[in-house]
Amino acid sequence: MGHLLEVKDLEVKFALRFGDLTAIDGASFTLDKREKLGLVGESGAGKSVTGFAIINLLSKPGYISGGKILFEGEELNKLSDEEIRKIRGNRISMIFQDPMMTLNPVLTICTQMVETVLAHQNVSKADAIGLAIEKLKKVYIPSPEKRLYQYPHECSGGMRQRIVIAIAMLTNPALIIADEPSTALDVTIQAGIMDLLLELCETEDMGLILITHDLAVVSQVTEKIAVMYAGKIVETGRTEDIINNPQHPYTKGLIKAIPGTLEAGSRLNQIPGMMPTLTDIPPGCAFHPRCTFSRTICETEAPILISVNDRNQMIACHVLGRHL
């Protein structure tokens, strides 16, 4: 069978002067070919860290302290530097949040595209340029031949993100990890970028992990969702199930907090309290201080993901989680 990507009990820690902090405490999920997964949660929940961990791109004090990351059967976290370099940008591409910061301001777009191709494929420079132009056309950049020789700051925000997407697609990767790809853009452009991503995944046969805090976007683009809270995955399932029938108390709170479902003039539904920072994660279930269902066991034992219905929806909750 074999999933495209399988993350099992991933643990990520930050080695700081006064001890190690756990950023991700046992995350597990799978992704099949051409599947689109949404990794959802508030800022600081650990979504981006998960994304970086997959391609082993964690910034200095961070390191993978446990778990397995299997991509096409290979254990990514056990690969050497050179081996994982061959996978990054080649089989798995990553898109970051702010396209202005993602592109190097002193190099032309052509350089930044061609080098990606040449780093992974043994082709001539002319071929690489041809490939670049082809991809630029796929992301609907007008006059790609001219754009190629411009610098990033000469393009608009939306165009830059399209170029970044084109770069990500140059080597026909099997998986794209998109970290908040539309957050830094104007609202009017956001929809265009998300549509583009969706279309490309279909036509180019790519899997997608969409990391975002925006439930509305996730509901339109993805097929599966994994909800993260304080470094743990608290609920997984199909998108329509999670949006319409959330099972975990936190997810329930999130869905209720979406403004669109309310009448004008009424108060917004908030989950009381705030998500804990890395240094004050409570024992047991990280959500229990804010949870209306919490019981004594929640304060001491951390729950694990259990199936709650026959539609493959899983939550990590002592109270609401029931074995099938």
């Binding site: 970051f96 190097n104 780093a119």
Partner: protein, 325 residues
């Protein structure tokens, strides 16, 4: 881009005029052209007559214009001591200083860039820590002490390298006396240029390291890693070019400072360059030579600063393209 260059050039011309004004005022008040011309033993009457003839009793601004006109033609007065035009004296001494500055710059570039980059990429390694400690202490050591220490170690105790003067020089093109073409000349260049570079080296290593570290944290470098580029490409093409930009500006400014410190270094090594000439001029009260040196050095500074600014404008695409809008 063109407008930018023009503006910079106009700015530099204004600054040069200011320098010339300052230089002229000094000469006007302190210098004694009569003495420069005919020596000390003249009667007051003859003095007055010569003063009139030289136009020294004309109003200030007229004399100033004359000064600027003569300066543009290359006439900066006569050196009292050398009995030759001041500019000629300076030009004859210039090659010595220039060669020293060139060799020092080469040392700086060869040593500081690789060290700075290495310290930024591997900050915890022994070499990096040592280099940083060296730069911290190095800033506190005045150049003349370094020079003296080097002389003592290599000149007196070990007797490996010479510590006086330029050694054998060869004349090229009729006037440029170079030390590059003789083994002796090259040996003489070693200690002075090492001393001179010791002032800037700490600064540059720190600067390059700091800039490189900042660049390595940026998102576009993260993205470069995410694209799976080879290490060397990320470091030397992506990171380095961004590091280089501010470094170029600093280097330009430091070039000027290097000239200042040649005065100190040349003194220690009895190096017959412009700096040494300047000090001798002070001791001999040779005002015209002094003022001529001021004007020449001032012009050099302005030129170097302007050129550096223009180069920066060309190299940094953001400035280059923004200037045309």
């Amino acid at each position: 881009m063109f407008a930018f260059i023009v503006r910079r050039i106009i700015q530099s011309i204004i600054v040069m005029l200011v320098i010339s004004l300052v230089g002229f005022s000094i000469q006007h008040h302190i210098g004694d052209p009569v003495r420069d011309l005919v020596g000390e033993r003249v009667t007051p009457a003859e003095r007055e007559e010569i003063r009139d003839r030289l136009g020294l009793n004309d109003p200030f601004y007229i004399q100033y214009f004359r000064f600027v006109k003569k300066a543009c033609k290359g006439d900066l007065g006569l050196s009292f001591f050398y009995k030759k035009p001041a500019l000629a004296v300076i030009i004859s001494k210039a090659p010595a200083t220039l060669e020293l500055v060139i060799v020092t710059s080469i040392i700086l570039i060869i040593v500081s860039i690789p060290s700075g980059i290495y310290c930024a990429i591997y900050p915890k390694r022994l070499f990096s820590r040592f280099a940083m400690a060296f730069s911290t202490i190095g800033v506190a050591i005045p150049v003349f002490l370094t020079a003296i220490a080097l002389i003592y170690l290599f000149g007196v105790e070990l007797n490996w390298l010479p510590s006086f003067g330029r050694g054998e020089t060869v004349k090229i093109g009729g006037w440029w006396e170079t030390g590059f073409l003789t083994w002796d000349g090259l040996k003489h260049l070693v200690l002075p240029s090492i001393s001179l570079s010791s002032i800037m080296l700490p600064l540059f290593i720190r600067l390059i390291r700091a800039e490189m570290m900042e660049v390595l944290e940026t998102e576009y470098i993260q993205f470069a890693w995410a694209k799976g580029l080879h290490r060397e490409r990320v470091w030397f093409i992506h990171a380095f070019k961004n590091t280089l930009l501010p470094v170029i500006t600093v280097f330009g400014v430091q070039l000027g400072i290097m000239f200042a410190f040649t005065i100190l270094t040349e003194t220690v090594f009895q190096w017959q360059g412009m700096g040494f000439m300047f000090l001798e001029a002070v001791e001999r009260s040779d005002t015209s030579l002094l003022v001529a040196y001021l004007v020449v050095v001032g012009v050099i500074f302005v030129l170097v600063n302007t050129i550096v600014d223009i180069i920066y404008g060309i190299v940094n695409p953001m400035v280059r393209i923004a200037g045309t809008k």
